[in-house]
Symmetry: C2
Subunit: 406 residues, 2 copies
């Protein structure tokens, strides 16, 4: 018996290969400052945790496949904050945004279909398209253009007879980009004309520092084309609860998604309890969280801007930044930082960006930094990066001149 | 934009079509006695719920993709009860048994591969094989033979060059069957000779009343062929927690499964806390649960055996029974029970069995009864079924003689 080809070929997360080196560094007593994963460090709303602590269920039963009605009502109410007019029947609770992505891809597309996706993109999209047999056609966005949504023409040029949808992440992971209302409405015209699905992952919607968030659920002309992915993971620091949503007004699509939802029976009960309470705590909780991330963002930008040879931009949203480093290969550099470098017993772990691109060479010199550490630690992490770059390039140049001499 | 063909064609649960009629009956003030779903009514271990209530996490973080180490250790310890010698690295925590099935199918098989599955089987297996593009080749087991594991020859006759595995449910849903050690070892020879994967769903392992449970993880000769699906849902009345497991010692397979696991990040945090505490409460909790189900089982068998024209057997395990009724079409009868029948304001809801077969006609006269109601209610449910059968056949015969006279 031979295990499946698809399983063995499924692309792994780009940071996966660094984990053994991080473990070894820890074993050697090095403190690792983790800027490599999108795991918020900010406490989950205490009131929401209290709700879970005070649960009085006698039997932890199967819930509705589409999620608790009270939670779906609460999500609709929350969406009205963004002027989104949506019905409880348009919201399905999923086991994290991951499952929302899975349900969306399986319900919209058949094997062999193509979707257009701006790169760099969240690496797990690639895994889910592989799992569902869909092909990604990348359209490139660049740091030089501050990861602006590619032009309608650029999207248009990617369209083939197999194209069935466009997939965006807004605000962007790994880019920290926020797409403007205008650019989304511009893209909507193409979506409408070409009769495509438009799937948008909006899980960072609450973290917009420069400019206002605009949801594609607001674009009336493409009501039936739009699918939005959402989650409490990032907004409420609740990644482990595994609660996400998929929102669509498309009836046929909802029907298909419900079939997939019924197959896995229901989303997690405790997580749903937590989620509902998170939205209740929303107004009190979120302003401070946003303020904290914004301070880190500005601090990070300031530090990075002052490092020689480092190219970056001030990301308007989310809690990520893509940074181009004065090195040849970010994966080798990130590994070197874990295996060969320390500054006062500390080092920093980052995500090499090649895994966020289909054209992996575009991310060769880039890393993604997630500012999920408090400012004191972020400061130490930047000290490490700055000193690490100097040390690495010294070693690297010596090696090169040694090679030149040899 | 047209939603996917695979999504629209995904087979739905066999009881799905009855739900609107059940809702309507409730609206009309009828009390419905639910024997239709495998949702245990017995309380979740109180000590396990207390563990969740006393959690002190500040941030609900992503956990390990393979599940909490402490939980996996606890599961290994629990497995030693069944003389299963297994390592923590062989256990992966999943979001319910559903996800364990999904990971197993995607990791073992490629689209177009065939698996042999005794029918009747748990209906969701069909959905997951469709989702993963695998073909089920059914081998029939029958009520007349007490749903005995089909002969090696019967399995052998199903093998083609595309056959890559055998999938069993033991103890059986919907059959309540328990496969003997001998029959499993007999099948293992075929598995070994033909180099197949053997996936066994053992989620009802704790509920064996006649005979001892024997896990395929105990068969040394097929160590690398075996994948076991497990879950806390049924054993600990914790369906909503969404915690399952997949256990395999096959390294290549574990590697593939981990890729799928990483893609969805991690299993639910709170559920894992509950699960660990469930195993701690195991010895105190399970004997009473088993005693309760056994009493219901015997009562149910006694009642069914005394109904004219009803064919059944005493199921040795799980909490289901497949019952053949003296009617032509179980789906029509089950619907009739919800729309046309009541006994003192009550009626009973059951699962028609056609959805548990690939050869749907085999289940035409059969229903699955889940004994997940306390004895008083079970008694009322049997009163309804008994009276319902008489009434239905009276109406039916009148209609037929009416037709004959016409």
């Amino acid at each position: 018996m031979k295990s499946s080809t698809r399983g063995q070929e499924l692309t792994q997360s780009p940071i996966r290969s660094l984990i053994p080196f991080a473990r070894k560094a820890k074993e050697n007593g090095i403190e690792i400052l983790h800027l490599n994963i999108g795991q918020p460090d900010i406490p989950t709303p205490e009131a929401a945790l209290d709700r879970v602590r005070s649960l009085h269920d006698e039997v932890i039963r199967y819930g509705a496949s589409e999620g608790m009605l009270s939670l779906r009502k609460r999500v609709c109410q929350y969406y009205s904050k963004f002027d989104i007019d949506i019905d409880t029947s348009d919201i399905m609770v999923t086991t994290g945004a991951s499952e929302a992505i899975q349900f969306s891809l399986f319900s919209c597309f058949d094997p062999g279909d193509q979707i257009i996706l701006p790169e760099p993109f969240y690496a797990n999209y690639l895994g889910y398209t592989q799992m569902s047999g869909i092909q990604i056609v990348p359209v490139t966005s660049t740091l030089d253009e501050q990861f602006e949504l590619p032009s309608t023409e650029a999207f248009y040029n990617c369209i083939t007879e197999r194209t069935k949808g466009i997939f965006l992440c807004n605000p962007g992971n790994p880019t920290g980009k926020l797409y403007s209302r205008e650019s989304l409405i511009r893209l909507a015209k193409l979506v409408k004309e070409e009769n495509l699905f438009l799937i948008v992952d909006e899980v960072y919607r609450e973290f917009c520092y420069d400019g206002d968030f605009y949801s594609v659920l607001n674009i009336e002309s493409i009501r039936d084309n739009v699918i939005v992915i959402d989650s409490i993971s990032k907004v409420f620091s609740s990644c482990g609860a595994r609660i996400g949503y998929v929102a669509t007004r498309n009836k046929t699509l909802k029907n298909s998604m419900l079939r997939y939802a019924q197959l896995r029976l229901c989303p997690p009960h405790f997580g749903q309890i937590l989620a509902e309470a998170c939205y209740d705590a929303c107004d009190e909780y979120l302003p401070d969280v946003k303020k904290e991330y914004n301070e880190r963002r500005l601090y990070l930008y300031d530090r990075l801007s002052n490092m020689p040879g480092v190219k970056t931009y001030l990301p308007p949203a989310a809690f990520y930044n893509v940074v181009e480093l004065p090195i040849d290969d970010a994966e080798i550099f990130c590994k070197w930082m874990l295996t060969e470098f320390q500054l006062d017993g500390k080092t920093v772990m980052m995500s090499p960006c090649d895994g966020f691109y289909i054209n992996t060479s575009l991310g060769k010199k880039q890393v993604r930094i997630a500012y999920v550490l408090e400012k004191d630690k972020l400061s130490l992490a930047m000290d490490c990066l700055e000193a690490g770059l100097v040390a690495y390039n010294k070693v690297h140049q010596l090696a090169q001149s040694g090679q030149a001499n040899a």
